[in-house]
Symmetry: C2
Subunit: 371 residues, 2 copies
């Protein structure tokens, strides 16, 4: 059975499947020139599944963030993580005793990496325990839940960040820099393709209650979010169409394939595809009056490949999660401003677009948006 | 000012703009091994504009078709063509004396290369003069006109072919062959991008009466037609959205940018963009359960570049119009069956889709189709 992890790992090797892409530099770690003696973000991870593991592994190379705690309902996983990541017993929690974390001065933030449908309740618990919350995307399963989370974090006076790892990715940031510098002229068009063939039909991503939807929540969100950072604008309307070829696998409320179009205030349009039933789909393309940029693969774990009308981009590959966690430490501890926001308000915009896409499908017509 | 001709020529050089594409063999003419002594299709061209000239130049290398006549309302153009292409006076006509062509036994077919809005009347005149009609695409400006032309040609017992040059293009045909052989598995998705920035605002292509529309008629038709030959199916629904950023240039009824989606009976979906306001857009992508194929550039005058999940295609470049006219001679004179049809019924399907796209834009909802 194929898993989502397999997909995202395979994307890293997609230069093989895309023989026109020239070989690029091998993965390099971010250079650690001088020993770091600034503030350290001490993080506990809630949800010890495959992506939690990936983040934990990547954090071994962080300099401003450190994995110090683990929260899970499965004692065996806790035990495993303790030995693998050298986590002290006193920093481990389950969902019954989690609230005790508020009395633990050695944990600054909790990274929630659980099924989407649990994010709202869990982030609110993190906030009420007085810890900063980092939440995997989608932040929640709809706008209302997302707003509840933002409100709870504000009330508790803790930060809320969402795991938009691409917002720190060097090729992505280079294209954003070029776009802001006017290299592509006025932006006219964005195209996002996000898809893979999902395996095991019993996984939580195909369970509406836990996932909140289907491919759109999980993988389409990359195109939604990418349309915004690639064009530099927020959409004002959406039009969408759903198709389902395997209703036995994708039950009521779990979308298999959605095509959606977004209109932007400056006149640009975006055309995107989100699917759980096609491979070979991970491409962003932004087209302006003077030039274009392409990312392909655009959102896998890397290496990301980028080019513009002037040629190939030569940014190095860095482990996304290492970079993300270091940068998030800077945001939380030093008030750093990221180039593309990763806060709750940013994530809420994507949820509003997701809600509007589902509405446009149901109404079978264009839906206007105010973000 | 940029012209459409400039665009289609530039597309040929687009390997420069797409540095990931590896250099391919230079253009080669189709080999003429043995001297040809079969039947010859003697063709007159109606409309001596830039594309007419391109066809005339390409026909110098044809072996089964020969340019023998010219029809124009501009005497100077006739004179120019006579000397350039060695056309006898007796095979030249204007729009007043055109009907005399029926008494000319040295002309078999007339290739109508005039503004879209004139095709209906002119093809009917060709048919009534007892000559086979070849008509540039779009065949007409709507389904009704197209049907009139089909009926007139049937009644006159002459053939009606439409200038779908890509239906003979080697990379295109190789992908169709692979798709039919099941190499890509079940087809799930097609993407077509067709666009360039149109120049001179006074040209006939921006005059609704002569063009019948805007970018969709002229360049979007490539994606419409391509969606059918790349997937091997005819669509059953369309959804479309128009955006216009330059209403001073693109007047009422002349579309600037249209995004449209097509649904196919087997469950595949197509997502296409047609625009007169963006460069760098000439790409087809078809995605199946087992593999994908890409053409980029997909429809320019060549060289066309193609690849699949297994690697780059290595078909030679041939001058599209030379190949088209030779193949059309075989269809008309010897009853050859092309791999992808180029007859009036084939063209009518595209007109039905165009009508449905405009209707979907006006109704702001999905329109069902029966082709």
């Amino acid at each position: 059975m194929k898993s989502r992890r397999d997909f995202l790992q395979k994307i890293a090797a997609s230069a093989i499947a895309f023989p026109f892409l020239s070989p690029s530099a091998l993965a390099t770690k971010s250079p650690h020139a001088a020993p770091y003696d600034g503030p350290l973000l001490r993080v506990a991870i809630m949800g010890l599944g495959s992506y939690g593991n990936r983040v934990a592994e990547a954090m071994r190379d962080c300099k401003q963030a450190k994995l110090v705690g683990a929260i899970s309902g499965t004692p065996a996983k806790i035990k495993d993580w303790q030995s693998r990541y050298n986590i002290p017993e006193k920093n481990c929690y389950n969902y019954e005793n989690f609230e005790d974390i508020k009395n633990n001065p050695d944990i600054d933030a909790v990274y929630v990496i659980t099924p989407n449908g649990l994010h709202r309740e869990q982030v609110i618990r993190v906030a009420r325990a007085g810890k900063h919350a980092i939440c995997e995307k989608p932040m929640a399963v709809n706008t209302k839940e997302g707003q509840d989370m933002i409100d709870a974090c504000k009330q508790a006076n803790v930060k809320l960040l969402v795991g938009y790892r691409m917002h720190f990715e060097p090729h992505t940031l280079e294209i954003i820099r070029l776009r802001k510098a006017g290299e592509f002229g006025k932006i006219l068009f964005f195209q996002g393709l996000s898809g893979f063939i999902i395996g095991d039909p019993t996984q939580w991503r195909l369970n509406k209650k836990l996932s909140g939807g289907g491919s759109l929540m999980d993988i389409g969100i990359y195109s939604i979010n990418g349309s915004r950072y690639m064009t530099g604008e927020d959409p004002v309307w959406v039009l969408a169409e759903e198709t389902k070829n395997h209703p036995e696998k994708f039950k009521e409320g779990v979308d298999e394939t959605i095509q959606f179009q977004l209109g932007f205030p400056g006149g640009a349009v975006a055309s995107c595809l989100s699917t759980y039933s096609m491979n070979f789909l991970d491409r962003f393309f932004v087209n302006g009056e003077k030039g274009f940029a392409e990312l392909q693969p655009a959102t896998g774990y890397g290496p990301i490949k980028g080019r513009t009308n002037k040629g190939e981009l030569i940014q190095p590959h860095v482990t996304h999660q290492t970079l993300q966690m270091d940068e998030m430490a800077g945001i939380i501890l030093q008030g750093k401003q990221p180039i593309v926001p990763v806060d709750g308000e940013e994530a809420l915009k994507d949820l509003k677009i997701i809600d509007a896409i589902y509405l446009a499908i149901n109404k079978r017509k264009r839906v206007d948006l105010k973000l």
